[in-house]
């Protein structure tokens, strides 16, 4: 008999299988463009996941994740275009840069909570946004940096290049999956439990001996890492970096994706990001004012499904599981005598 748990696991496997099959499946079903769109959705999902890690598990609403995204992006772009680095060093530069800036700004930011935290994270990201806009020789300002031909990369005996669409897709899939897996492990670990304890009640968490400041800082740096990886991937993906991706609107979109998808759930950011980007793509081909639909959807979901789309699914699932359980106990009771 199909039990809810089996179904959930089967769905996860089906989802994984689907993602692996995308480069062959999607060109047949839709067209090639959707393969790169799915790759883009994965990158943005990772970005939304960085908001989710902070807000959904530690209770800190960051409105400035675009800063760490931007450092990852510029690390790669400047690494390739200006410093002439090859693939891995540039990737590493992007990630190290975003982790470093997350550490430095986190030291200040996590001293504050709630409104003040949200605002200081925006302020930090705005400072660097204006900085990036003004130092044109380095960052290209709002026009951005285009860098030609992505560097070829070889791992073991295999040589791959981002100019090969399937290779690019699988590289993004592997990187994003790895990050999500790491996040999953962290959340399931004692560290993750400590995060949730702080989210639920920071005073109580401090009283049972957790170092709230330090734990928040760890979470902040981890979120910076996730945002940095997504920014670095995005730079490789678009062969482009621009200061406009560091503006607070980009951070705001990630917050919307994470909360609409379902904050505090592993898959929430993926669902939210997919939801909005697919709407954007479907509508924008017919109507240029797709942002109107996005705005209306954000408001509707927030009012009708306060726990997000995944929360809606989970609630339905839990009640279904309860019913299934009740039904099975009923049958055992009937067959017993």
């Amino acid at each position: 008999m199909m039990t809810p748990n089996v179904i959930e696991r089967a769905m996860l496997i089906a989802f994984g299988a689907f993602l692996v099959a995308v480069p062959w499946l999607i060109p047949v079903l839709l067209n090639k463009f959707w393969v790169s769109l799915i790759a883009e959705i994965m990158i943005w999902s990772l970005f939304a996941a960085s908001v989710n890690l902070l807000f959904g598990y530690v209770g800190l609403l960051s409105f400035g994740q675009a800063l760490y995204f931007g450092f990852g992006m510029y690390g790669v772009a400047i690494g390739v275009a200006t410093l002439g680095l090859s693939f891995w060093p540039a990737f590493g530069l992007g990630i190290v840069a975003s982790v470093m800036i997350a550490l430095v700004s986190g030291i200040f930011a996590v001293r504050l909570t709630w409104h003040y935290f949200a605002i200081i994270t925006v302020v930090f990201s705005l400072i660097f946004y204006f900085f990036a806009v003004s130092v044109k020789p380095l960052t290209g300002g709002d026009d951005g940096i285009n860098f030609s031909l992505p560097p070829t990369f070889s791992f073991g005996g295999v040589t791959g290049s981002f100019s090969d669409a399937s290779f690019q897709y699988f590289f993004i899939l592997a990187t994003v999956s790895l990050c999500f897996f790491l996040m999953h492990r962290v959340i399931r670990s004692p560290l993750g439990k400590a995060f949730v304890a702080i989210r639920d009640n920071d005073v109580r968490a401090a009283l049972i001996g957790l170092n709230v400041y330090q734990l928040r800082l760890i979470a902040f740096v981890m979120a910076g890492f996730l945002a940095g990886v997504s920014g670095a991937l995005f730079a490789f993906f678009g062969r482009y970096a621009s200061a406009s991706y560091m503006y607070y609107h980009v951070s705001g979109e990630a917050v919307v994706w994470a909360i609409v998808g379902g904050a505090g759930t592993l898959f929430g950011p993926i669902v939210g990001t997919t939801f909005f980007i697919v709407i954007r793509e479907l509508v924008s081909t017919h109507w240029e004012h797709h942002a109107l639909i996005v705005g209306v959807m954000a408001i509707l979901v927030v009012i009708l499904a306060p726990k997000g789309l995944v929360g809606l699914w989970n609630d339905a699932f839990i009640s279904w599981r309860a019913r299934a359980k009740a039904a099975s106990t009923n049958t055992t009771l009937q067959t017993e005598p």
């Binding site: 949200a118 302020v123 705005l126 400072i127 900085f131 919307v256 942002a291 109107l292 705005g295 408001i299």
Partner: protein, 303 residues
């Protein structure tokens, strides 16, 4: 933001002397500060009373500038906008509170998402109705006025006057009327206020309406001295938040003073450095305030 700063800056560099530049930019900053104070007050009462980070507030301002433009187009008279636009803003704000904010009022994170959605809706509506081309409104009062050795636009002085009157009017309203007292009561202690018979629900609707109206009025006042387009709100929002934070959350006089001080300082910095440098310095100032004095600069100075 405040896009016309740079244009004027260059203009003055060519035609004027350094002292005149400084004076002009300082005056411009002062007047922008008064307008920002209006907008930031709206943001601050919504923030203080409803505990909402209103990401659509900059767009309330933008809608004000656009409505001013439409009023001028339809009636041929800009002065009508000073009356009509804040009124429209008030009803829009009240409507938004009822429909969008009320169902999720108690969950702060959701209200942030909702106001973000609202911001998108307002911007796109303006793009559909008004278009994407930035437009300019000619000041309803033309001409310049000789002042401290420079010729200063009369309309800007008038804008300052309107802003000062509106600010004064708002504080009188807050302290001398029943609704104003209710608003202060609900902000101070919601439970007690409700127990004393204050209709908190109505106060919320009114507060949001007044917040929108203040921003819209700011938009009308600013329309002839800035460009009218769907994006101005995005740029002005961080500035308003700076005023609210530096002035101290919920400290309304502090917010107004901070807005004027900030814009004035940015004006002065712009007379010898790039506008971006001015913006970065006020952001750094704000970070320092947040970290050292999160209650705002003026805590203890005002009651």
């Amino acid at each position: 933001m405040i896009g016309n700063y740079r244009g004027e800056w260059i203009n003055v560099l060519i035609h004027g002397h350094m002292m005149d530049t400084l004076l002009l930019l300082a005056l411009n900053g002062l007047i922008w500060g008064l307008i920002i104070a209006l907008i930031a007050l709206g943001l601050s009462i919504i923030f203080g009373l409803l505990d909402i980070i209103n990401l659509a507030h900059g767009d309330f301002f933008m809608v004000g500038t656009v409505l001013a433009w439409f009023t001028l187009e339809l009636t041929g008279n800009f002065w009508v906008a000073f009356l009509i636009v804040p009124l429209i803003g008030f009803f829009l704000g009240a409507l938004i509170q009822r429909v969008v904010i009320q169902p999720i009022r108690n969950v702060a994170a959701l209200t942030i998402v909702a106001t973000f959605g609202l911001s998108l809706i307002l911007q796109e509506s303006v793009r559909i109705s008004f278009g994407t081309t930035p437009r300019r409104i000619l000041p309803p009062i033309q001409g310049t006025f000789p002042m401290f050795g420079i010729n200063y636009e009369i309309y800007r002085l008038f804008a300052a006057l309107i802003a000062i009157i509106a600010l004064a009017g708002f504080f009188v309203f807050l302290h001398r009327t029943k609704l104003g007292t209710w608003m202060r009561a609900v902000r101070h202690d919601r439970e007690t206020a409700i127990a004393m018979g204050v209709p908190a629900q109505r106060v919320y609707v009114m507060t949001f309406g007044i917040g929108f109206a203040l921003a819209a009025l700011g938009g009308v006042v600013a329309a002839p001295i800035t460009t009218v387009e769907f994006r101005t709100g995005v740029d002005i929002l961080p500035f308003c938040f700076m005023a609210v934070i530096i002035g101290g959350l919920g400290n309304l006089p502090g917010t107004a003073v901070a807005a004027v001080l900030l814009a004035f300082l940015e004006g002065i910095i712009q007379s010898f450095a790039d506008p971006t440098v001015a913006r970065i310095s006020s952001l750094l100032l704000m970070s320092a305030v947040l970290l050292v004095r999160p209650q705002g600069l003026f805590k203890g100075l005002t009651k």
